[in-house]
């Protein structure tokens, strides 16, 4: 069987320390949740295979240190990302305020084409909520981003947000993908996918000569 090509994307998790970036990643890749906060000091990553629109996408998710004193250093990782999660904590007004700063850093250091989505984490902590869903929605709209409220704790909207960002990145890189498809001949599957679907439908529905 022919191997298919894989698409590899880099996604980056950004946001203040403690908003739950590491937890989001752990929940998504290992389906685990840790209630203790071990602050990330450095840049960590994990791989995950996703299927989006029939394309096998391998994403490399980078989890960065949120602490302020490392921010000048983490900036140098932005330019390698194709997609960025801007994460705040719905129980922390401050982390939400800081999104502005994160966005301006991203604008300055990330590639122009980078795709962003806004994530309000810890949606399970309704009683401690400081940022209304509507505020998140509004901010996302201002920046033209998609918005998800997630909970790494209850696994709410985790897969959805990762899949969505991956989808956006795929769309943004459609051209390259098409090029790739044409250049790797034994890996044309994706291009032929939908055709194949139609064919099947036709073959089932048609009453041509071959049907006896």
């Amino acid at each position: 069987m022919a191997k298919q090509y894989d698409v590899l994307f880099r996604l980056l998790l950004l946001g203040d320390s403690g908003v739950g970036k590491t937890c989001l990643l752990c929940r998504f890749t290992d389906n685990e949740f840790h209630s203790s906060h071990i602050s990330t000091i450095g840049v960590d990553f994990k791989m995950k295979t996703l299927e989006v629109d029939g394309i096998k996408v391998r994403i490399q998710i980078w989890d960065t240190a949120g602490q302020e004193r490392y921010q000048t250093i983490t900036k140098q990782y932005y330019r390698r990302a194709q997609g960025i999660f801007l994460v705040y904590d719905i129980t922390s007004e401050r982390s939400f305020q800081h999104i502005m700063k994160w966005v301006s850093d991203v604008d300055e250091y990330a590639p122009e084409k980078v795709q962003k989505i806004l994530v309000g984490n810890k949606s399970d902590e309704e009683d401690k909520r400081q940022v209304a869903t509507e505020q998140g929605n509004k901010l996302a709209k201002t920046y033209g981003m998609d918005f998800f409220e997630t909970s790494a704790c209850t696994n709410h909207n985790i897969k959805e947000s990762f899949t969505r960002l991956t989808e956006l990145v795929l769309q943004a890189h459609k051209k390259e993908l098409d090029g790739l498809r044409a250049s790797i001949n034994d890996e044309l599957y994706i291009a032929d996918l939908e055709d194949d679907d139609n064919k099947r439908d036709r073959s089932v529905n048609s009453q041509k000569a071959c049907w006896c």
């Binding site: 191997k3 450095g42 029939g54 240190a65 900036k75 989808e167 098409d178 032929d192 089932v204």
Partner: protein
């Protein structure tokens, strides 16, 4: 037969026909057969179209019709028109275009056509407009014999409409293959559902992508720029290993996600003795009460004519196919999935309409074992396919004739088994043989006879219907019992009379003079699990041939995929492999993430150890990497040793983190313009990055402080508030106005200089080798601390240590005693004493004072030259280098001049 040989005969030596296929050239209303060859010369390729006489064997059989150079403008793409029946296993229609030309070609279904398209695509890839080419001049000789040599007539603009693309349907559609998973509506569950964007995306992708030549070159270019974002995405690693792992795991777990479901297979075999169909085949093909799910119907001796034999072409193919199609069970609709034929051996494969979508990976191959061991009068044809998740191979064979030739028949069987190979789509995998399939159904005129009995004895047993007794004389049974043939195959009990040989048109045994012994030539065997033969019989009603047709109805347990479970299993496997991969990302633990260097002093060597332990599952390569906009991986006062290295799994390395503040970093740390703060980035190759923070506090020192600052400090520097030091440092050098922080007028010279000089003057004026012998490091540290923290009456340490401290002090001054701005003027006036003195008067007061004070001291020393052995030149050279410094590197003449300059101040007063 490989027809490229015929094409090769028409080419020159430098040109070679890579591959050839027979195809149909589709014109407006008619189609004509063509032989299509891919011809290569150097790096250039062209398609050659030949008209041909039936199957081409030599160059004489073919005539060149068209030549299509594969240039940048060349496009080949698959077309599927809606009015054409498109079904798994159907032929492939491609459109070939060049400016001014459009051809439609239909390639026969099968691996050979696929291979051909693959080769053409490769040729397209190889075309590179940038390398100098012969511009296809080699084709011009063919041009003469042709009216048209397409695409070369007009000068082409390489960058214009270059479109290169080959696309062809994936024909194998395996379980692992995402396209299958996705194309199969039943399996849609596997792909995740997305709120939006999905439909649009899918459509965009499905459109045959046309890539301009330019774009292709762009891609090639950008992929060499590893830093560009796009290139990074394109330079994607291929995870062939992953795919294989997934595939293996899926196979291992097949039982989890499949269940066995029974389907009925009707297998028929009929040697038609070259006849055309004369009667309905219903009695044979529609003999079962229920419509079978699958039909595999084989014929032998379809056409005994020479044409069929030599050209593999026969009208009977159509006639019998139609007869079969008409004879299939009336209660169901069937699709002809595949027709395979070798001369007179033909195999037809039909499925019930509703099962068509579960048929995949259809392929057909043939092997001739006839004359010369190759020709197609004897041999086998086979069709393989996947039905749900079961791999099935159906073989129709016609083995060697004649009673005594059973050994030859055994050999034919073995030949077919070893030579009949199905190409796998993944070229790295070995081709599939017949017996590799989980289910093998073998039918045909196997030609095994009854032995040891005379005709009458045979007929007698038949009369008595003692088929059991008769069967014991059957060659095939005996050969199987001896393990000589059909190893692992089974055959059901034969409860019908021999199917050979009858007088055509009757149920009469052969009455010709040969008077053949009746035999069970026509048989059906099987191999594999979950196969139950429901019926095995002949059909006496059919009288067209000297054979009677035989049929076998099977109930076969097919592995059907439980989509729900499959999806889960698949996801689990992918997750497990992802997990494995994540565990293989290099990773280490660090003994400490934060290092604090407390109370760092001038020229004090401090070090801490960072231990890196490789606790990951793979060896790793580590390195401290540079940060954005910084010249090095760390600040100048810091270093890490070693700063890169290799760590075996479980290994450990100790890194010395060293802090050392010298004259080049001291000034800014004194003034607190900079602090002892840095973050090291420890990078693991193909792995994570770790941040290590280094902090500390620096104790300000007179070393590295300016003369001006020190003149304002009446207290030791470390007793001063840091803020005062900072403000004084930032004060303009020539500032005469009283600063807010200074209450008193400045000292004439810094007290630290006075202390050192006075100490030397009083206790070391006669010291031998003063300023030439090094001091002790520990004593220097005491002297430094003494100068920075208190004012004892006398300095600690030996004369040499104090002398060295003085030199270090002068060396560390951010602005030398003779300010940089006067450097050039001093050099220029070095030959003139008066001028030299004049320059000195222009120095800021504290510099001027310090200079004069030092000169006076040196002159005092020279009075004791008898004891201390010092002379003008020595002192002038030592102090010249410290007092008269340049910001850039000094050359030897500059050094000489500086020495000369200082010497004036030492000589004159002697």
């Amino acid at each position: 037969m490989d027809q490229s040989v015929a094409i090769q005969e028409t080419l020159t030596e430098e040109e070679s026909c890579i591959i050839a296929v027979q195809c149909l050239l589709i014109m407006d209303s008619i189609t004509e057969s063509r032989l299509l060859g891919l011809v290569e010369r150097g790096q250039e390729h062209a398609l050659f179209l030949f008209t041909h006489r039936r199957m081409a064997i030599t160059g004489n059989d073919i005539t060149l019709d068209k030549v299509v150079p594969i240039t940048e403008d060349f496009v080949i793409e698959e077309v599927t028109s809606p009015d054409e029946l498109a079904i798994v296993g159907s032929d492939t229609t491609v459109r070939v275009t060049l400016p001014g030309l459009e051809l439609r070609l239909r390639l026969l279904f099968g691996s050979h056509s696929r291979l051909f398209l693959y080769e053409v695509d490769k040729a397209c890839q190889e075309y590179d407009s940038e390398t100098p080419k012969s511009q296809f001049v080699w084709l011009s000789k063919y041009c003469r014999s042709l009216k048209c040599l397409t695409g070369l007539s007009q000068p082409r603009n390489c960058k214009s409409a270059g479109i290169n693309r080959v696309s062809f349907q994936p024909i194998y559609m395996g379980l692992l293959n995402y396209s299958t998973l996705n194309s199969n509506t039943k399996r849609k569950g596997l792909c995740m559902q997305h709120p939006r964007g999905q439909r649009k995306m899918a459509r965009l992708q499905s459109r045959p992508a046309k890539v301009k030549g330019e774009a292709r070159h762009d891609m090639v270019r950008s992929s060499s720029h590893t830093l560009s974002n796009k290139a990074q995405m394109l330079a994607m690693p291929r995870f062939g290993l992953r795919d294989n792992l997934i595939k293996c795991e899926l196979l291992k777990n097949e039982e989890q996600y499949t269940y066995i479901k029974n389907f009925s297979f009707f297998i028929g075999t009929y040697n038609v003795n070259g006849q055309s169909p004369k009667e309905t085949l219903r009695p044979w093909l529609s003999c079962t009460p229920n419509a079978p799910d699958i039909y595999c119907v084989g014929f032998q001796e379809l056409d005994l004519s020479k044409e069929a034999f030599f050209f593999n072409d026969t009208p009977k193919e159509q006639e019998w196919t139609k007869a079969v199609s008409d004879g299939l069970h009336p209660d169901a609709k069937y699709a002809l999935i595949k027709l395979a034929r070798l001369v007179g051996i033909m195999l037809l494969f039909y499925v019930k309409k509703e099962h068509a979508e579960y048929i995949s990976e259809v392929d057909a191959e043939t092997v001739g074992t006839g004359i010369m061991g190759r020709m197609g009068n004897k041999g086998g044809v086979a069709v393989r396919f996947k039905f749900h998740n079961s791999d099935i191979c159906v073989v129709n064979s016609h083995l060697a004739a004649h009673v005594e030739e059973y050994e030859r028949r055994n050999q034919d069987f073995r030949e077919i088994c070893s030579r009949l190979l199905f190409r796998q789509l993944d070229a790295s995998l070995p081709p599939l043989t017949i017996v590799k399939h989980g289910i093998v159904l073998w039918l045909g005129d196997l030609n095994y006879r009854i032995c040891e009995l005379e005709v009458d004895q045979v007929k007698d047993l038949i009369e008595k219907k003692d088929f059991k007794a008769l069967h014991s004389y059957d060659q095939l049974k005996r050969q199987i019992d001896e393990n000589a043939v059909f190893h692992g195959f089974k055959e059901g009990e034969i409860a019908f009379q021999p199917t050979y040989k009858y007088d055509t048109g009757s149920d009469q045994w052969d009455t010709s003079e040969k008077c053949r012994v009746p035999a069970w030539c026509d048989r059906v065997l099987w191999k594999g699990k979950n196969i139950k033969q429901l019926e095995y019989r002949s059909h006496m009603a059919l009288k067209t041939s000297d054979h009677k047709p035989v049929s076998s109805l099977f109930e076969i347990g097919i592995k059907v995929v439980n989509e729900e479970v499959y999806k889960k299993t698949f996801e689990e496997i992918v997750r497990a492999i992802d997990k494995m991969e994540n565990e293989c990302i290099p990773s280490v633990t660090l003994s400490q993430r934060e290092f604090v260097f407390k109370d760092v002093k001038f020229m004090e060597h401090r070090a801490e150890t960072l231990t890196i332990h490789n606790d990951g599952q793979v060896p790793c390569q580590f390195e401290f990497i540079q940060k954005l906009d910084e010249p090095a991986y760390c600040k100048p006062w810091l270093s890490a040793n070693p700063c890169k290295g290799f760590l075996a799994q479980g290994g450990e390395v100790h890194i010395d983190l060293e802090v050392f503040v010298n004259r080049s970093t001291a000034t800014e740390l004194n003034s607190r313009e900079k602090t002892l703060e840095d973050i090291l980035v420890l990078h693991l190759q193909r792995g994570k990055d770790y941040f290590i923070s280094i902090t500390g506090n620096y104790l300000p020192s007179c070393f590295g402080s300016s003369l001006q600052l020190l003149c304002h400090l009446r207290e030791p520097i470390q007793d001063m508030p840091l803020e005062t030091i900072r403000e004084l440092t930032l004060m303009p050098q020539d500032s005469t106005e009283m600063n807010s922080v200074i209450a008193e007028p400045p000292l004439e010279i810094p007290k630290e200089i006075w202390m050192m000089v006075d100490h030397l003057y009083r206790s070391a004026a006669k010291q031998e080798d003063l300023f030439q012998q090094p001091g002790l490091r520990s004593e220097f540290e005491e002297i430094r601390d003494c100068l920075d923290t208190g004012m004892p009456d006398s300095l600690p340490g030996s004369a040499h240590s104090v002398a060295e401290a003085l030199l270090l002090f002068l060396d560390a001054l951010p602005e030398p005693v003779i300010c940089y701005s006067f450097y050039q003027e001093c050099l220029d006036s070095c030959t003139n004493v008066l001028m030299c003195k004049k320059v000195i008067t222009k120095l800021p007061p504290c510099h001027n004072n310090v200079f004069n004070y030092l000169m006076a001291f040196l002159r005092e020393l020279l009075k004791n030259t008898v004891y201390n052995h010092l002379d003008i030149n020595t002192l002038a050279s030592i102090f010249g280098a410290l007092l008269l410094r340049s910001q850039s590197k000094q050359d030897i003449t500059e050094k000489k001049k500086a020495q000369e300059f200082i010497a004036h101040f030492l000589i004159n007063y002697l």
